[in-house]
C-alpha cells in the first residue's frame, strides 16, 4: 500500500503538529516554568555490560538497578522528581564504554552516569567523563579510583576497592591457611590490583607469593596454566572473571584431585554460578571472599531480607523465578547502594539540573559514615571524600555442605590504607 499525500492529509498533519507543539511548548510556559522543571525525571545513564565477557554481571547489575530505582520512585523520587534509567550496552569494552558516556551526556541529557564494573572499561571511560564534565559513579572494585589515576568526576561510593579487600584478607590467609601462596588472577587491571596489593599484604604478614599465574580473561580452557603451580604451594589464591569461570573452577578441581592444597578464592571466580554445579564438589572446605554473603546467614539482618525481596533473589542468592539463575550477589549490592548515595547527594545539594553537577560531587565528597540500613544492606560504610573511595566490611565464607557459611568478618579498619590522592584539590 502506498500512502499518497494529498492536500487534505497534509493539512491534517499540519494541524496535528501545531496542536502537539502547543501542547508541548506553549501550554507549560503559560502554566509556569518551575513546575515543569521539577516534574521532569532525573536521568541516570546506566553503562551496562549487557554483552561481552561481563554479561552475567550486567544482567544482575541491571536487575539490582531496576529494583533500587523502583524503591526510590516509590518513596517519592529524588527531590520530588522521578528517576529514569537510560541504559547503554558497552559490550564490556573500553572504547564502547567511552562512547556510551558521550551518548549519556550529549544525546540523552543524563544528569549522571553510573554502573560500570570491569576495570578496563572504567579506566577507558573515566577520562571521557572528566572531559564531558558528567559525574561518573562506578561500581567496579578496582583501585584505579583511589590510586589517583582518574579524575574528580569519577567516584566509587558504593563498593570497596580491591586494595582494601585484599589487605583485610591477608591476615586470615596467613594465619589460618598457610604462608606460601600461589596466585591465579585475570591478566588485566583488576587482576593486577590483586597481584600487587596481595603480594604486599601477605609479605606484611610474614608470608610470600611463590608463583603468579596470569590468565587472559577471554580464555576458555585453563588446565594448561596449572602446571606452573609450584609443589611447595600451601594456599591457592584464585580470582577469575569472564564467561568461563565455571570451567576454570572445574578444571582446578580436576587438576588437584583429592590432594589439593588449601584454596582461598574470590567469589568472582564463581559469580553467577551455582556452588553445587557438578564438578565443584571439591570446593567443600575451601574459603571464599564475599562482598556480601550470597547465602542468607543464620543472623540475617532485616535489611538483607528486604534487599533480597526487592531484587528478587532467594536465600541462596538465585532468582526467585528461576533457581538456576544465580546472581552476582557479592558485587551487585554496589548498584543499590550507589543509587541511594546519588539520591542522598542530590538531595543535600538541592540538585536541579546539569548546572548543579559540581555541587552534587561536592555533596558526595562530604559524605563520611553510612550506617547499615535499607539503603546500605551490605553493612556500614566509611566514605573517603578525598580519594572518592568507600570502605566497608568484608566477608570470608567457608563452603560446608554446599553452603557458603560466614567464617570471618573483616572490619572496615582492617582494610584502611593511607590516602594516595586528594581529588578535592583538583578543579572541576
Amino acid at each position: 500500500m502506498i500512502n499518497k499525500i494529498n492536500r487534505r492529509t497534509a493539512l491534517l498533519g499540519l494541524g496535528a503538529g501545531t496542536g502537539a507543539l502547543a501542547a508541548a511548548g506553549v501550554l507549560p510556559r503559560s502554566m509556569g516554568f518551575a513546575q515543569a522543571q521539577s516534574s521532569a525525571p532525573i536521568k541516570i545513564g546506566f553503562q551496562k555490560h549487557a554483552t561481552g565477557i561481563g554479561a552475567a554481571y550486567g544482567r544482575w547489575y541491571g536487575a539490582t538497578t531496576d529494583a533500587a530505582v523502583k524503591r526510590i520512585n516509590d518513596n517519592g523520587g529524588i527531590n520530588g522528581r522521578p528517576v529514569e534509567i537510560v541504559t547503554e550496552d558497552d559490550g564490556t569494552d573500553p572504547s564502547r564504554g567511552a562512547e556510551a558516556l558521550e551518548k549519556f551526556a550529549n544525546q540523552h541529557d543524563c544528569d549522571v552516569a553510573f554502573g560500570t564494573l570491569f576495570s578496563h572499561v572504567v579506566i577507558g571511560s573515566a577520562p571521557r567523563a572528566g572531559e564531558l564534565k558528567i559525574p561518573y559513579f562506578v561500581v567496579s572494585e578496582g583501585h584505579h579510583v583511589a590510586s589517583g589515576g582518574l579524575n574528580r568526576y569519577t567516584l566509587q561510593p558504593g563498593i570497596t576497592d580491591v586494595k582494601s579487600q585484599v589487605i583485610s584478607m591477608a591476615p586470615f590467609v596467613a594465619n589460618n591457611l598457610g604462608k606460601k601462596v600461589t596466585m591465579i588472577y585475570p591478566d588485566f587491571a583488576f587482576g593486577h590490583d590483586h597481584r600487587d596489593f596481595f603480594t604486599q599484604a601477605i609479605e606484611a604478614q610474614g608470608g610470600e607469593v611463590v608463583a603468579k599465574i596470569a590468565i587472559p580473561p577471554t580464555e576458555t580452557t585453563f588446565t594448561r596454566y596449572f602446571p606452573n603451580i609450584p609443589r611447595e604451594t600451601e594456599v591457592i589464591y584464585h580470582v577469575m572473571v569472564g564467561p568461563a569461570v565455571l570451567t576454570f573452577v572445574k578444571e582446578l578441581g580436576e587438576f588437584f584431585g583429592p590432594s589439593r592444597p588449601e584454596i582461598f578464592g574470590f567469589i568472582d571466580s564463581l559469580e553467577a554460578v551455582d556452588i553445587n554445579s557438578s564438578g565443584l564438589e571439591f570446593l567443600e572446605g575451601t574459603y571464599f571472599w564475599e562482598g556480601m554473603p550470597r547465602h542468607a546467614q543464620a543472623d540475617q539482618t532485616e535489611y538483607d531480607k528486604a534487599y533480597r525481596a526487592a531484587v528478587g533473589v532467594n536465600e541462596r542468592g538465585a532468582s526467585i523465578d528461576d533457581p538456576a539463575n544465580v546472581s552476582t550477589f557479592a558485587h551487585m549490592f554496589g548498584c543499590w547502594e550507589t543509587l541511594n548515595i546519588i539520591k542522598a547527594g542530590m538531595e543535600s545539594a538541592d540538585y536541579q539540573g546539569p548546572q548543579d553537577r559540581t555541587k552534587l560531587i561536592e555533596a558526595v565528597e562530604a559524605v563520611t559514615d553510612m550506617p547499615e540500613s535499607e539503603d546500605h544492606p551490605q553493612g556500614d560504610k566509611l566514605f573517603n571524600g578525598k580519594t572518592h573511595q568507600t570502605f566497608g566490611k568484608q566477608y570470608i565464607s567457608k563452603v560446608s555442605e554446599g553452603r557458603l557459611v560466614l567464617e570471618h568478618t573483616a572490619s572496615i579498619e582492617d582494610g584502611l590504607y593511607e590516602d594516595e590522592v586528594d581529588y578535592t584539590t583538583q578543579s572541576f
Binding site: 554483552t51 576458555t220 564467561p243 568461563a244 565455571l246
Partner: protein
C-alpha cells in the same frame, strides 16, 4: 605427560575443525571465514538439545552428537544455496559474504541464546590420576602428585576424533561420494561435463565442512562452555593449521593440527600459553615465506 595429553585433546578438536575448513577450500576454493561460527553454533545447539531433552547426560549428549552436526550442516548448505551460489563462488566475494555470515550467525545467537556461557554436562567424567615414580627418602616409590591426571571424557574426545577422521578418510577415498568430490576438486567444469551435479556437490561439501566444525564443538562443549563469542579462537587456529598444512591438503591438515595442538599443549604447560600462540603465528609466517603452498600442498603448476 600432562602436556602431551592436553596437546592431544587440543589437536583432536583442531583436526576436525581444520578438516572442515580444508575440505571446503579444497573442493570449492572458498575461504570460509564463518567457519568458527559454525563451530560456535554446534556448541550452542548442543546445549539446546541436551537441555530440551533433559534426562541423563549420556542420552542428551548422544542425541546432540547425532542431531547437531546434521542440523548445522543443513544450515550451512542452505547458506551456500542462498548466498555463495549467488556470488558464483568468486573467491574475493565469498570472503566478504562469509564475513557477513559470521556476523549474522553471531548476532542471531546473541539475540536468541543470549550472552551467557552455559555448561553442557559430560556424559561421563571420572578423573584418572596417573602415578609418578621418583627416588625419595625411602628409595624408589610411586607417588600420585596433584596435576598428573586426565579425565575419561578427554580421552574419549581423542579417540572419537580419530574415529571420525578414519571414517572421513574412507568416505573420501573408497566411496563414490568421495570420488565425485575429488573429481569436482580437480576440475569442476570437466566434472560437470561428465554429469556430476557440481552445484549440489558444493552444497553438500559446505554442509559437511560446517558439520565437522559442529561435531568438534559438540565434543568440546562439555570441556568448555557454549558461548556466543567462542568461534574466534577455533577459526584462527584452524586457519593456522590449514595454512601450515597446505590449503586443501587433507594429510597436511592432519599433520599440522597435530603439530600445532601438541606444541600448543607442551609450550603452554612448560612456558606460557601466550608464547604458544606467538610461536604458532610465527610458524605461519615462516611457512608463508619459505613454502607458500604449505607443508604438503602442491605448488600451482
Amino acid at each position: 605427560m600432562l602436556a602431551s595429553l592436553e596437546g592431544a585433546v587440543i589437536s583432536a578438536i583442531l583436526v576436525l575443525t581444520a578438516m572442515g575448513l580444508s575440505i571446503v577450500f579444497g573442493v570449492m576454493r572458498v575461504v570460509n571465514v564463518a567457519h568458527g561460527e559454525f563451530f560456535m553454533l554446534g556448541a550452542v545447539l548442543a546445549w539446546v538439545v541436551t537441555t530440551t531433552l533433559g534426562g541423563h547426560p549420556v542420552f542428551g549428549f548422544v542425541a546432540a552428537l547425532i542431531v547437531v552436526p546434521v542440523l548445522v550442516g543443513c544450515i550451512a548448505a542452505g547458506a551456500d544455496r542462498l548466498i555463495l551460489k549467488r556470488v558464483n563462488y568468486d573467491p574475493d566475494r565469498t570472503i566478504v559474504a562469509t564475513i557477513g555470515m559470521l556476523y549474522i550467525i553471531q548476532q542471531a545467537t546473541l539475540m536468541t541464546y543470549g550472552p551467557e556461557a552455559r555448561p553442557v554436562e559430560a556424559p561421563f567424567n571420572t578423573r584418572l590420576s596417573l602415578p609418578w615414580f621418583e627416588f625419595g627418602d625411602e628409595g624408589f616409590q610411586m607417588i600420585w602428585p596433584w596435576g598428573l591426571s586426565i579425565t575419561s571424557y578427554k580421552l574419549f574426545v581423542i579417540f572419537a576424533a580419530i574415529a571420525v577422521l578414519i571414517a572421513l578418510w574412507i568416505v573420501l577415498t573408497r566411496t563414490k561420494i568421495g570420488l565425485i568430490m575429488r573429481a569436482t576438486q580437480q576440475d569442476s567444469d570437466t566434472a560437470q561435463a561428465f554429469g556430476v551435479p557440481v552445484g549440489k556437490v558444493y552444497s553438500w561439501v559446505f554442509g559437511l565442512g560446517a558439520g565437522l566444525a559442529a561435531l568438534g564443538a559438540v565434543l568440546v562443549v562439555p570441556i568448555q562452555q557454549a558461548h556466543y563469542l567462542m568461534g574466534g579462537d577455533p577459526l584462527l587456529l584452524a586457519f593456522i593449521v590449514v595454512i601450515i598444512g597446505g590449503l586443501g591438503s587433507l594429510p597436511g591438515t592432519v599433520i599440522a593440527a597435530l603439530l600445532i595442538g601438541m606444541s600448543d599443549g607442551i609450550i603452554s604447560v612448560f612456558f606460557s600459553p601466550t608464547l604458544a600462540k606467538i610461536i604458532a603465528t610465527f610458524l605461519v609466517a615462516m611457512v608463508l615465506v619459505f613454502r607458500p603452498q604449505g607443508l604438503l600442498g602442491r605448488a600451482p603448476s
